[in-house]
């Protein structure tokens, strides 16, 4: 993959559009397919990251653990229904190495809960590692770093 090319930029854009659409629509099986088996997924606060603290707010050390997260949301957790809409912008390929292409982007999550007005739930940046497997793009690592140290009520679904 040549990260600078217009075709590759468009392909990356499509990849992130799929990612967001699957999550927003609750198509978690398709969403999980965007990760390689041995992948890392993290949602971390900027506060912890900048202080060099290892704690993540959501941490999955494999695609299986990510599937467990989805499964437990569906089967075990109690929460009020809500609509989430995620917006990704500024998708920029960075360095390419043997382990994959580092990609950075901004995200914003809008949450509509009950009869309350829609609010911004989270904003931050992705620091990702993308690889190509049999012609399809996949995440080897996805880290969502949220800016504000405090989360409104709860973070149920992945970012």
């Amino acid at each position: 993959m040549s990260p600078g090319g217009a075709v590759e930029r468009a392909r990356l854009r499509d990849f992130y559009d799929d990612y967001v659409a699957y999550l927003d629509e609750g198509d978690f099986d398709s969403w999980l397919d965007l990760f390689v088996e041995e992948s890392e997924y993290r949602v971390v606060s900027r506060e912890n990251l900048e202080r060099g603290l290892p704690l993540a707010t959501m941490r999955c050390d494999s695609r299986r653990m990510l599937a467990d997260r989805i499964h437990t949301i569906r089967r075990t957790q109690t929460f009020a229904p809500r609509a989430l809409r995620r917006f990704v912008s500024g998708i920029r390929p960075q360095r390419e190495s043997d382990s994959g292409l580092e990609v950075r982007a901004s995200f914003l999550v809008a949450e509509s809960l009950g009869d309350e007005p829609t609010r911004v739930h989270l904003a931050g940046r992705y620091v990702d590692l993308v690889v190509s497997v049999d012609g399809a793009l996949k995440f080897r690592r996805k880290v969502a770093v949220y800016d504000a140290p405090i989360i409104p009520i709860s973070l149920i679904y992945p970012v």
């Binding site: 506060e47 999955c60 109690t78 009020a80 989360i151």
Partner: protein, 248 residues
């Protein structure tokens, strides 16, 4: 100003010292959330141990916490602090679990590294939840060690400031284990999401009935310690203390 030891009282001091045993601590990180509910509901949540069996399907199904496990609720003399102590059961069906609507015997993890608890303290307790007046929760749930500070934001909201920690002499495996188990707690916790969500709903319910009152007297009116967790004695003791402090 009493010394901390006197303030906590013997029972709570013992459980406190179990975790804060003189070893150097290592902060693993922070999490914060704001919950649109009165702060006292959060203390009620921790002081009401039997809700866990009804609400937390994750804990129940993986045998981490159940009402039929050996448990106790203990308070200090003033009733302002309390501790819930419980010992882990197994993930297996029994006569008791057949009656538990929250038990899912078919639940398994594709990657069991998420739990993988190891015993690290003497004794059989695997869940120790301390509520220390007026605003501190100290928790040990398997290998997740954390404090939660309540910060009030008016009568209708509070912030919960979580500090996750381990020990400076933890090996890498133990640190990773704690970081993975942290998935159960905090604003994205597989268990604690249930609490913050239900607290919001409870607050909405209370607000609708402003000026009204309701009284549920489960187990009567006494404030004594209990050898099981189907009790609200610690909540009653908390409110008795609250009324003394607030001169109500």
């Amino acid at each position: 100003m009493p010394a901390l030891e006197d303030y906590l009282g013997q029972t709570n001091l013992g459980w406190f010292d179990r975790v804060f045993d003189g070893r150097q601590l290592r902060v693993l990180g922070y999490q914060r959330q704001i919950v649109p509910a009165n702060w006292k509901l959060m203390f009620e949540n921790i002081k009401d141990p039997y809700h866990a069996s009804l609400l937390h399907v994750f804990l129940v199904s993986f045998g981490l916490f159940r009402a039929d496990m050996p448990s106790a609720v203990q308070m200090d003399a003033s009733g302002q602090h309390a501790v819930l102590v419980s010992s882990k059961g197994e993930q297996k069906a029994s006569e008791a679990t057949a009656e538990m609507k929250s038990f899912r015997s078919d639940l398994t993890l594709a990657d069991p590294r998420l739990l993988d608890p190891v015993r690290e303290f003497p004794g059989s307790a695997t869940v120790v939840m301390q509520t220390i007046w007026p605003n501190l929760i100290v928790q040990q749930q398997s290998n997740t060690l954390a404090t939660r500070q309540l910060v009030t934001r008016g009568p209708g909201a509070f912030e919960l400031h979580w500090t996750f920690f381990g020990y400076a002499d933890d090996d890498e495996d133990m640190t990773t284990r704690r970081l993975r188990q942290a998935n159960l707690m905090g604003p994205a916790g597989l268990v604690s999401i249930d609490d913050s969500e239900v607290l919001r709903l409870a607050q909405l319910g209370c607000r609708a009935g402003e000026g009204a009152s309701a009284l549920v007297e489960m187990g009567g009116r006494d404030l004594s310690d209990s050898e099981h967790i189907v009790t609200e004695a610690a909540i009653r003791a908390f409110y008795a203390h609250y009324r003394r402090v607030m001169e109500l």
